[in-house]
């Protein structure tokens, strides 16, 4: 067991535990904090994969901005314990096994696909990390138009949020 393996398994376990807590917690605020745990451990995994810029963006935008927005709305709406409504009988008994089955089937398909087999045969796998300089060159040259389009998307999102959340006169 080398250090990357230990890091991977610790972070993977934390991510899965966080996702399970998201499902099992009764209070939305606990779910939100569990999701923050998932995002931080995913950021560590991105670092392990050599994607430093994405790891930083994950922490700043996801764990920082988006989750603060969620927690803010939870506090604003004073969201308490979730009401337990009657599940259907089918969901009660078949839900968990079907969920586990779905996860495993998805993993199996990913590994058995053409690309998955290529990867298992050792395609790629360098240790060097991606430099942010190369990434930004790609972003501002090859993907310049989508990048500009996202700025318009953000502008529209701001306007939409303002219009929706505004008090009606």
């Amino acid at each position: 067991m080398t250090l990357p393996f230990i890091m991977f398994f610790v972070c993977a376990a934390l991510a899965v535990i966080g996702a399970l807590t998201l499902i099992l917690a009764r209070e939305p605020i606990h779910s939100a904090l569990a999701l923050v745990l998932v995002m931080v451990s995913l950021a560590v995994l991105y670092l392990l994969l050599g994607a430093e810029f994405i790891a930083a963006v994950q922490i700043i935008v996801y764990a920082g901005a988006i989750m603060v927005l969620f927690v803010f709305v939870i506090m604003l709406l004073n969201a308490g314990v979730e009401e337990r409504t009657d599940y259907s009988k089918l969901a009660k008994f078949a839900g968990l096994p079907l969920g586990i089955f779905l996860s495993l089937a998805l993993a199996y398909w990913m590994l058995e696909s053409f690309i998955g087999k290529q990867i298992a045969n050792g395609l790629g796998g360098t240790n060097a990390s991606v430099s942010t300089r190369e990434l930004s060159a790609q972003l501002f040259q090859k993907y310049l138009f989508p990048f500009e389009a996202t700025s318009i998307l953000i502008l529209i999102a701001i306007l939409g949020a303002l219009v929706l959340a505004k008090k009606d006169e």
Binding site: L22, I23, P28, V38, L42, V61, V130, Q138
Partner: protein, 102 residues
């Protein structure tokens, strides 16, 4: 120094995506369901980064960047919608927000 095989990341991504779907279906609180969507987006991002690493190409990372931007826009608008729904119905339980249900 040996590195972690890419397939491990793919399995983790699939498991997180499955848990996200389970949370989406099981939870009754509209905010928690929204968080389940974010969890699924995160799982897909992990798969994107893992594939980008496997192919030694940067395009996957650029896609993750765009996914994060779209998720930010989506959560801003979505939470505004949730606030509006709460102002109109005084509840966050999805089973009580059934105006469009036949």
């Amino acid at each position: 120094m040996s590195i972690v095989p890419i397939s491990y990341y793919l399995v983790l991504s699939a498991v997180l995506f499955g848990l996200g779907i389970v949370a989406f279906v099981v939870k009754r609180n509209i905010i928690t369901i929204f968080m389940a969507i974010e969890l699924m987006l995160n799982a897909v991002n992990l798969a994107f980064v893992a594939f980008a690493r496997a192919h030694n190409q940067l395009d996957g990372l650029v896609f993750v960047f765009f996914v994060i931007v779209v998720a930010a826009a989506e959560s801003a608008v979505g939470l505004a919608i949730i606030i509006t729904v709460y102002q109109n119905r005084q509840t966050l339980n999805l089973e009580r927000i059934n105006l469009l249900k036949f």
